[in-house]
């Protein structure tokens, strides 16, 4: 040590930058902790509120005016609506994302598409709902239907899905594309076997975020898929043309978010607040389950496709 002509590693250096770094670390940790705490308390809030309400029979029985009814048809509707919407939004969104990230040149059309994506995300959902009401419900004489709701939701979600997919695909390093192309793979093979597999985690995120909006959306669906309390569903009725069949896309389809909205604004009866709390808790667990499931599938797919 005595031989050392330079100051000690512990002492020298710009204290200011070190302090700034410490401060930043604390602030960033604080931000993380704050958001986690916020979310934690919201979840705990619903957990406590739903305590004693949520039970298997709550999930598996029909709503009732006179007792603590269940939410089975509404839960089913949410899942159904999610499926129907994602059936359209996921493939079209990812394909659109592929175009934007792999093919789109730097031209007016690209600008226009990007502009369209951003413009539509600024349309309030209630306006999309009314648009759906006028277009699907009135003009197409569809009435209040799951299909109309899903189409309106898709208009709303597709740009988001496309945008997020594009970003996920763009994050794949250029090196990987060059390597594949240089091996004589076609552009499409490169996309299929290198770009998309590598982008799977990002694509899963975009699916999750889009799905989140389907779960949580009320305003669009109020006016397109309906705002009613469905009664009993006969799940053995597979006649898709029958509006009474829970499998039919041509029936009214009140989802969890809409149901919660309805109960909170005009719901009557001593059980309303319990059903609201229980439904909110179920909705949140459903989102959580979906997210975890999607991530798991994504991870399995990544492992299969990249063998990493």
């Amino acid at each position: 040590m005595s031989a050392s002509t330079t100051p000690s590693l512990h002492l020298r250096g710009s204290r200011r930058s070190i302090l700034a770094d410490r401060a930043a670390t604390v602030v960033l940790w604080g931000t993380g902790a704050f958001v986690l705490l916020l979310l934690g308390s919201i979840i705990v809030h619903f957990g406590i509120a739903a305590w004693g309400v949520v039970s298997p029979s709550f999930v598996l029985s029909d709503p009732s005016d006179t007792a603590l009814g269940g939410i089975l048809p509404i839960l089913w509707n949410s899942i159904y609506m999610l499926g129907l919407t994602m059936l359209i939004a996921v493939p079209v969104g990812i394909l659109g994302g592929i175009y934007m990230s792999e093919y789109a040149g730097d031209n007016k059309l690209t600008e226009a598409i990007r502009f369209a994506e951003e413009a539509i995300s600024s349309v309030p959902s209630i306006v999309v709902g009314l648009f759906g009401l006028i277009l699907f419900v009135d003009n197409f004489h569809m009435g209040f239907t799951a299909l109309g709701g899903a189409l309106a939701l898709t208009m709303f979600n597709l740009p988001l899905m496309t945008r997020l997919s594009e970003q996920a695909l763009r994050a794949v390093p250029q090196d990987e594309r060059s390597a594949s192309l240089a091996l004589g793979a076609t552009k499409w093979q490169t996309i299929q076997h290198v770009v998309v597999p590598l982008a799977i985690p990002g694509l899963v995120t975009s699916i999750i975020l889009t799905a989140g909006r389907v779960f949580g959306e009320a305003a669009v669906l109020l006016f397109t898929a309906g705002l009613a309390t469905p009664a009993h569903y006969d799940f053995t009725n597979f006649n898709l043309g029958d509006p009474a069949s829970p499998w039919s896309p041509l029936r009214p389809c009140t989802t969890m978010a809409v149901y919660i909205y309805k109960l909170q604004s005009e719901g009557l009866g001593i059980y309303v607040s319990k059903v609201v709390d229980g439904s909110a808790a179920i909705l949140i667990s459903m989102v959580l389950a979906f997210n975890l499931g999607a991530r798991l599938v994504g991870r399995l797919l990544t492992r299969r496709l990249t063998a990493a």
């Binding site: 700034a20 958001v35 979310l39």
Partner: protein
């Protein structure tokens, strides 16, 4: 192998006609998917634009009137006046405040997740954020109504005043009379847009090659310096996109804001006072008015105005981005 080589040599480089088609098919498919966006948007925007101008075309309201401050759509209680100024300013005010609160929080969180967080923290926070997105806005509104509004009212009911000895009151914000306020709306919104801004910025930070981080750290810079001078500039386009997405989401959000903002069509003055946004007005009155009456036409005009505001800010941010990239 030699044989294969010979065989290859005979294959002409010209593409067989059928092959060309096949190679191009995917391109057409993805092109169609992307262009469908334009179709949807044209349909929707065309519709809103058409409905939005009915107030002027069909009902004969002068265009200038929408920039006045009086909102009196109800013919039964006096002469009608469709002044949208309070709503326009209200929307801008709430959105701006929400972004002001949410952006540092979200970008900070994105940085935390991508640069600081240990694996376990990331494993908790990331799914947590995605749950945020799935919580319906009614639920957020309800939480705001039952928790945030009373909290603001109980905690900050007195005027906030900064007094100096000679100058007197230099700054005064009236306390919350009710809790229903500009601030309440902005707070609820800022939580709702937090996941959007966070996840998109997070992706932007993740996309930065690791080599830039090691390059900077190896020069004896702190992690914060690396973040501040390398990562943030490199991720800026992505972060701005995130903010735009958050902004448009905030401007378009209806149910939750409307429940806590107080919905008073006045010009925004203090964050503690109720104001009203375009979306709140649309939500409140759309279901109660009938298609084709001037009142509803005015609501469609609000949608159009909202769209114009959002699109204008999208374009503005794009221009800023382009200017930056050119440097």
């Amino acid at each position: 192998m030699v044989q294969l080589t010979t065989a290859n040599r005979l294959a002409s480089l010209r593409t067989a006609p059928g092959l060309r088609e096949r190679l191009d098919l995917p391109r057409r498919v993805v092109f169609l998917a992307a262009v469908s966006m334009i179709g949807i948007v044209t349909l929707l925007l065309g519709f809103i634009a058409w409905q939005g101008i009915q107030l002027f075309v069909k009902d004969g309201v002068p265009v200038g009137q929408v920039f006045s401050a009086t909102w009196q759509p109800d013919a039964t209680s006096g002469p009608t006046n469709y002044g949208l100024l309070p709503f326009i300013l209200g929307t801008i005010a709430v959105t701006a405040l929400a972004l002001l609160i949410s952006t540092p929080l979200s970008v900070g969180l994105a940085l935390f997740l991508s640069e600081v967080a240990p694996r376990w923290a990331r494993a908790i926070v990331q799914p947590a954020l995605e749950i945020f997105v799935g919580i319906p806005s009614v639920v957020w509104g309800w939480l705001g109504l039952t928790i945030l509004v009373p909290f603001l009212h109980d905690t900050f009911r007195h005027d906030f005043v900064i007094s100096l000895p000679v100058l007197g009151d230099v700054f005064r914000v009236p306390g919350f009379l009710t809790g229903f306020s500009w601030l309440a709306g902005a707070l609820v919104l800022s939580i709702m847009i937090l996941p959007t801004i966070t996840s998109v910025s997070f992706d932007a930070f993740r996309a930065i090659p690791q080599e830039l981080r090691t390059g900077s750290l190896a020069l004896g810079t702190t992690r914060w310096q690396t973040i501040r001078h390398i990562l943030i500039p490199a991720a800026l386009p992505g972060v701005l996109t995130a903010i735009v997405l958050g902004m448009t989401r905030a401007a378009g959000e209806a149910l939750a804001v409307q429940m806590v903002i107080g919905s008073q069509p006045v010009l925004p003055r203090a964050v503690t006072q109720p104001i009203e946004t375009l979306t709140a007005a649309i939500t409140l009155d759309m279901g109660n008015t009938v298609f084709g009456e001037p009142w509803q036409d005015a609501l469609w005009t609000m949608s159009l105005v909202l769209l114009i505001i959002s699109v204008a800010s999208v374009v503005l941010v794009r221009l800023i981005n382009k200017r930056r990239m050119a440097l």
